[in-house]
Amino acid sequence: QPLSRGPHGEQPTPYAAVVLKASDIAALKRKPYRAALVMHTSSDFSSALIAGARKGFAELGISVVAVTDAGMDPQKQRTDLETVMALKPDLIVSLVIDPVSGAIAFRPVVAAGVKLVFISNVPQGLVHGRDYAGIVTDDYLAMGQTAADMLASSIKGKGDVALIYHAANYFVTNQRDAAVKQALARYPGIRVVATRGISNQQDGEVIASAILTQYPKLSAIYAPWDSIAEGVTAAARAAGRRDLKVVTMDLGAANALDMVKGGNMAGIVSDLPYEMGQTVARMGGLALLNRPAPAFVTVDAVRIDSANLSTQWQRALNRELPAAVVQAVARKGAR
């Protein structure tokens, strides 16, 4: 059951509940609709999402005319939006970096009658149904809670842990990090001895090394996403802490491999970016047909351990588990 609520307290709708009828699809295919994706940045997450959206749009006969990457800069995102408007799209899908400035940036888009589907977040002041079709998001509260649960169970509910959080103003990571912290408070045996901000994803190892120096008895570290977790496991290796547990969000091959090989990685929480992309496409389809669409759609938070890795990997990212990880799984199975 999804946990997160919409920006105005909307009840979440599971992504599977967003469906298009065959007649809708036919109706969409009759017109040459054009969609543009105005993204926040590029990452494995966003490319899986874009892949899902492209697939979904293709099934609906909607062409994707532009994809942009704002490099986490709201000003660039506004610029991108203005540029994309020159292509006269019928639909824009966007992950808004800054809901405050987004309020102004999207005003002309709304005024031009372009349909909008948002990911994760919505610009301030926009009204569901009138201004935009809906939000598709990962269930960030559930993700945070799941991560906390995995962390707790990996150390059997007892011990000192450290949290690394994203020291930046970014809705999704902020929500997830806060949820982890909140959920951990419910475990009486667990003490959060250090919380350290990170603003630059390359610094995972440096920060984790310092934490491990300062708290040699630490049992586990939470890292906000996969590339940071790679640094954290590197720090654990360097410090000779084979017993340290690491939990993170978002799938990455290196972390998966470490987990399968019984390294420090105890568990990963993932959302379903590919499904998100497809859902976004379906929401877009509804919007183009002026159908009501649910205000707040979530995809599941998935708890991934070495047992369910292969299946969940495929489900989340819609691609094969990398060969190196498959081999490691096989080796493990053989043992």
Binding site: T68, Q75, A86
Partner: protein, 325 residues
């Protein structure tokens, strides 16, 4: 006694010189034509899109004017992105106390940053690269804690209109700001004693000193001017986005440096052209715009932007044949 060089060739030489510095316009025109033809279907030439390019280049151009002065004087300023953010946050926080207060406050904050940079560079003699790297960190840290990493909303219609969001007729106010700053910068660099002092200080510091130019003071001023223009850019960002946030400007450094250097200003000083920087800004904005309109994915955009930069500068500054000095 006869000097052997006849008059005619000398003018021919200056013609050659002019021809070289005209190349940036040729490159601009060429790229424009290229995009106009290939992206005709995709709305590149629509009035709306041309206005987009104008608006987008305006921000780059305003920052590029200040950087043109800094580079011409053989200095560099890595802190200006941080000043952009601090000024934007300041103006947004002060707006409830009135527009004039807010704008004056933000400019004062910018001036203060510039003075600190300038004093450290010209009084203590630390290389500006390190000074401004240090102050960039300090300023960003301050902006982050002042704003608590939150976006500060701007809710002041007049301010937003005047500083970045308005249009007068079909012309964006931003464009007018740009024209004002560029025109002023151009005249100051080319036609005032200060401009000549900047170029001389950057070209040969010792010779400038012997000629009676106070090089330390020049360095102070260029860093101050740059910080003031960064603050103006921050104010305009706040007006344009109706909000301010600590990340503003953080990606602008490379973009601005590129625009300035494509425009013919030397990274190591002594040569600078505000008009060239304007062209550089227009080219950068136009390329960004065109690549998105082409519908390329981001990897392809990166690659193609790199190729375009290299080709453009090969034309404007390359020798295109084996060097033979």
């Amino acid at each position: 006694m006869q000097t052997s060089t006849p008059a005619a060739p000398a003018t021919a030489q200056s013609r050659v010189r002019d021809w070289r510095s005209m190349l940036i316009y040729v490159v601009f025109a060429g790229l424009f034509l290229l995009f106009a033809v290939t992206l005709h279907e995709r709305g590149f030439l629509s009035e709306n899109n041309l206005m987009n390019i104008a608006r987008q280049s305006a921000m780059i151009a305003i920052m590029a004017v200040g950087m043109t002065f800094v580079l011409s004087a053989a200095e560099i300023d890595l802190s200006f992105g941080a000043v952009v953010a601090l000024a934007a946050v300041t103006v947004a926080l002060l707006l409830p106390h009135g527009m004039l207060v807010a704008v004056a406050g933000a400019l004062a904050v910018g001036a203060l940053c510039g003075l600190v940079n300038g004093a450290l560079v010209s009084r203590i003699g630390i290389p500006s690269f390190l000074v401004t790297l240090g102050t960039a960190g300090i300023i960003t840290g301050i902006t982050r804690s002042v704003s608590a990493l939150q976006s500060v909303p701007v809710d002041h219609e007049v301010f937003a209109f005047l500083f970045g969001s308005g249009d007068i007729g079909p012309v964006p106010v931003l464009f007018l700001w740009m024209m004002l700053v560029v025109a002023l910068g151009h005249v100051v660099l080319r036609n005032t004693a200060f401009g000549k002092a900047v170029l001389a200080s950057g070209g040969n510091k010792l010779a400038a000193t012997y000629a009676g130019i106070n090089v330390a003071r020049v360095k102070m001023w260029v860093l101050l001017i740059n910080a003031l223009l960064a603050a103006l850019a921050g104010i305009l960002y706040a007006g344009r986005l109706h909000s301010a946030r600590y990340t503003l400007g953080e990606n602008d450094l490379m973009m601005v440096l590129t625009a300035v250097i494509i425009g013919g200003t030397h990274l190591f000083g002594g040569k600078g052209s505000v008009a060239g920087s304007l062209m550089g800004a227009l080219i950068m904005a136009m390329v960004n715009n065109g690549l998105i309109l082409m519908g390329l994915d981001i990897d392809q955009q990166l690659i193609l932007r790199g190729v375009i930069i290299i080709c453009a500068v090969t034309l404007t500054s390359g020798r295109l044949r084996r060097p033979r000095r």
